[in-house]
Symmetry: C2
Subunit: 130 residues, 2 copies
DNA sequence: CTGAGTGCCCTAGTTGGCTAAGGCAGTAAG
DNA sequence: CTTACTGCCTTAGCCAACTAGGGCACTCAG
């Protein structure tokens, strides 16, 4: 899990997103336990309170449920919910990029070019051997 | 200029981005004066100090230069620099989206689908009359 | 029962961002 | 010169977000 303490985004929100993504990707599965507060705090080098705040948020959003003394578990439909959430988030960010680009005088076609280039270098045509 | 006081992004950075975009789009042209500290502060309903902080950053980045007693002006190649910066920013954000998507188990192809949908609803095939 | 684990809670403390109020120095038009 | 603008600087303080440390209640294997 990658945490950037110098980001403008609060640490606990970074953790929330990381866990949500992990649930979406199936790293943690429904009815399965997540890392304990202290374990995750140790791993990410942040305060246990901060992790708890992240877990609180995840519980509020319905991706996990907690059992005192036992641990935190992924809800039954947590994975589907997390996948939906991931798609909505991606859509939202792409909308923002398009909007910001338009303000700077760059049309959607221009953004598409950049997008193609980004995809190209992201997965450099996997399949060709040297 | 749209400022969201409840964003995680500091207000002065929001102003920086807005001005940079305006320079890129040609709203403010090289050798032209930007709104004065106090004028912009009044317009955006923030403290003049916050605006100054934004202007400091813009000057540090080389998009504008200040003349005491006269005002703030766009540098000679400010527009080109701002356009370059906008493209780099877009690229960076798209990279981030792709990376976040991958972590959540969504492949580039999936992101492209969402991107196409976003573009579709962003500029709904301008040209067809009802 | 005991002990080590768990989530939970409380109370501080720090920090960055922002506000506030004022003053100084420069420019330019009247 | 006077006036009204500019950018710039200083000091002080506020506030929310975030961090920190410690303690409590619960669960469960031994």
């Amino acid at each position: 899990m990658e945490i950037d303490p110098r980001s403008h985004i609060p640490i606990y929100l970074q953790i929330v997103e990381a866990i949500r993504s992990a649930i979406a990707a199936g790293v943690y599965r429904p009815r399965e336990a997540l890392p304990s507060l202290r374990a995750l705090a140790l791993e990410t080098q942040v305060n246990p309170n901060t992790v708890q705040r992240a877990y609180d948020e995840l519980e509020r959003e319905g991706f996990v449920y907690s059992q005192r003394g036992r641990g935190l578990f992924v809800t039954e439909d947590g994975r589907r919910a997390a996948q939906d959430h991931a798609r909505r988030t991606i859509r939202h960010r792409l909308d923002e990029v398009l909007r910001a680009a338009a303000v700077a005088g760059i049309e959607p076609a221009g953004v598409r070019e950049i997008f193609d280039a980004a995809i190209e270098s992201f997965s450099p045509t996997e399949g060709q051997s040297p």
